[in-house]
């Protein structure tokens, strides 16, 4: 075999190898993303504002949507149920009037502000608006973080 021919075949071999490996890893990475996601829609209606008791933390959507809804005299807000420390789900302790995380003891006030334990920042709030039919619409695709000053946004708090 001539030297030139050998090098040609070697290049072809390496290119084929690179192509095969590349295709293989592309398929593996593609496999990591599911074809269908069986998740509830990110934005959903939770009922009319009057369905919620004043100054109570509503836990009806904790299980299905991971959201707490709180109605105060001024309006309503939707809190994420994910602890900002390491992502456990805190419990609402009605007697202590606080959210308390069972993993490392972080505590949050009803507003979502962190005040005890290691959590570095307040719970996140979701977009909350009134739909056309007068129901409250929560949109989890938009988050509002207190430490970035986003809670002042009109969509972070639904004035009723």
């Amino acid at each position: 075999m001539k030297r030139r021919k050998f090098i040609t075949w070697l290049s072809v071999g390496w290119l084929a190898f690179a192509g095969a490996t590349g295709g293989f890893f592309t398929m593996i990475i593609r496999f990591l993303f599911p074809n269908v996601l069986f998740e509830p829609p990110q934005s959903f209606k939770v009922g009319f504002p009057s369905d919620f008791q004043l100054n109570q933390v509503d836990e009806r959507f904790k299980q299905s949507q991971a959201v707490w809804l709180v109605r105060t005299a001024e309006g309503m807000y939707a809190l994420s149920t994910v602890c900002t420390h390491l992502g456990c789900t805190p419990n609402w302790l009605i007697t202590d009037n606080k959210f308390k995380c069972p993993c490392h003891g972080s505590g949050f006030r009803k507003s979502g502000i962190n005040f005890e334990g290691p959590a570095p920042r307040p719970l996140e709030r979701y977009r909350i608006v009134l739909a056309e039919d007068g129901q409250v619409l929560v949109d989890k695709s938009v988050k509002f973080q207190y430490e970035k000053g986003q809670w002042d946004s009109p969509e972070a708090f639904l004035t009723t």
Binding site: K62, Q63, S64, A66, T81, H85, L86, C88, T89, P90, N91, L93, T95, D96, K100, C101, P102, C103, H104, G105, G107, F115, E116, G117, P118, P120, R121, E147, K148
Partner: protein, 372 residues
């Protein structure tokens, strides 16, 4: 009487008290300097490492565990299949500590009398790997397999229902070997306690052979020749790792509150723990002018403290007490040793700051996920 003892142990187990006691007692048990060594002998603590002392300690641990086992509340914790490893851990850590310390003390006495150490075999006493060592290893392997089989059949793994992301168990405990880490996570940001500290622990342990240039006590047990190194290592291992695992298992209950071991794990226990950042202490409580808006200005005091903590002691010690160490190790290795030591001590310091003045973070920049 029994209830009195239990109530007393409950009070003792408060981390503020138990951790302080352990830190104060530790240098007398494992004396790092000659001054502690003198008191160690005077108080008779060296008798711990005799056969009799070991048996007394064994009996002491067993009595406490038995007391717990027949207690309504402590018994529930001790009886959990999850916690069997912790009981094995308590016994085995103590046994191996006793074994190595008593061997070291025997050797130290022999060397003081001018004799050879126990491990010093003459040229005629050669022991072959095959079959002498391999047989022992095989028997140990078979016994361990039998033990694990009996254990896994006798105490089935506590399987629970399918995981539910919206419901964390209360308390949510890590596997037993990670409970020390989980305890660190209470005091530090996740990226520090979960990433940086474990890396430092592993890298630091790997660096030991390169920073330890003491040829003495290599290949045989000895304490007198390397008391300071043994003290530092055991302090990190026993009080900052094993003790924190015990704390996480026995003293942490619902809502991650502290409970005495004999106390009932009540979900309703209220512990007021309003944490305050250092910046708030400085700007709001002391200067009374409110937090500055720029994070770097706001956290300037904390940044200065952290820089001084890692910068000042190495320089001061290099000119004072540790001058000999700098000469022996050279600047780079000395800097590495002192950095690792300071990082290790940062954990108890932060724990005490949290327990005493409810300090949350020394530097708190949640805007960019940087909290110390």
């Amino acid at each position: 009487m029994l209830d009195g003892i239990k109530a007393f142990l409950d009070i003792l187990s408060k981390p503020q008290i138990s951790f302080t006691l352990i830190i104060f007692i530790f240098p007398f048990v494992i004396p790092p300097t000659m001054w502690f060594e003198k008191w160690h002998r005077k108080l008779g603590l060296h008798l711990l490492w005799t056969r009799k002392g070991g048996l007394y300690m064994f009996a002491f641990i067993t009595i406490i565990l038995l007391l717990g086992f027949f207690d309504e509340n402590f018994g529930k914790i001790l009886g959990k299949p999850d916690n069997v490893p912790i009981i094995i851990l308590i016994y085995s850590v103590f046994f191996f500590l006793w074994l190595s310390m008593s061997s070291a003390y025997k050797n130290d006495e022999r060397m003081a009398r001018g004799e050879k150490v126990e491990e010093d075999y003459g040229p005629d006493e050669k022991v072959l790997v095959w079959p002498d060592l391999v047989y022992i290893e095989m028997i140990a392997l078979i016994l361990m397999t039998v033990f694990l089989l009996v254990w896994s059949i006798g105490l089935p793994a506590p399987l629970e229902e399918a995981a539910n992301p919206s419901l964390s168990p209360n308390p949510a405990k890590a596997p037993w070997y990670f409970l020390g880490l989980q305890e660190m996570l209470v005091y530090f940001d996740p990226w520090l306690a979960g990433v940086i500290f474990p890396t430092l622990i592993i890298v630091g342990l790997m660096a030991l052979p390169y920073v330890d240039d003491n040829p003495k006590a290599s290949g045989y047990y000895s304490f007198a020749n390397r008391r300071a190194s043994i003290f530092i290592f055991l302090f990190g291992f026993l009080t900052l790792w094993v003790f924190l695992i015990v704390v996480g298992t026995f003293f942490r209950g619902p809502n991650w509150n502290f409970f005495g071991p004999f106390e009932e794990w009540s979900v309703a226990k209220v512990v007021p723990l309003t944490n305050v950042n250092l910046s708030e202490y400085v700007w709001v409580k002391m200067l009374r002018i409110g937090l500055p808006s720029h994070p770097l200005v706001r956290e300037v005091v904390g940044i200065v403290i952290v820089v001084l903590y890692f910068g000042l002691p190495p320089v001061i010690l290099a000119r004072g007490k540790l001058r000999g160490l700098v000469e022996r190790l050279g600047a780079t290795r000395y800097a590495l040793v002192i950095f690792l030591a300071l990082s290790m001590m940062a954990l108890p310091i932060k724990m005490y700051l949290r327990w005493t003045i409810n300090l949350k973070y020394i530097i708190a920049i949640p805007e960019s996920f940087f909290n110390i």
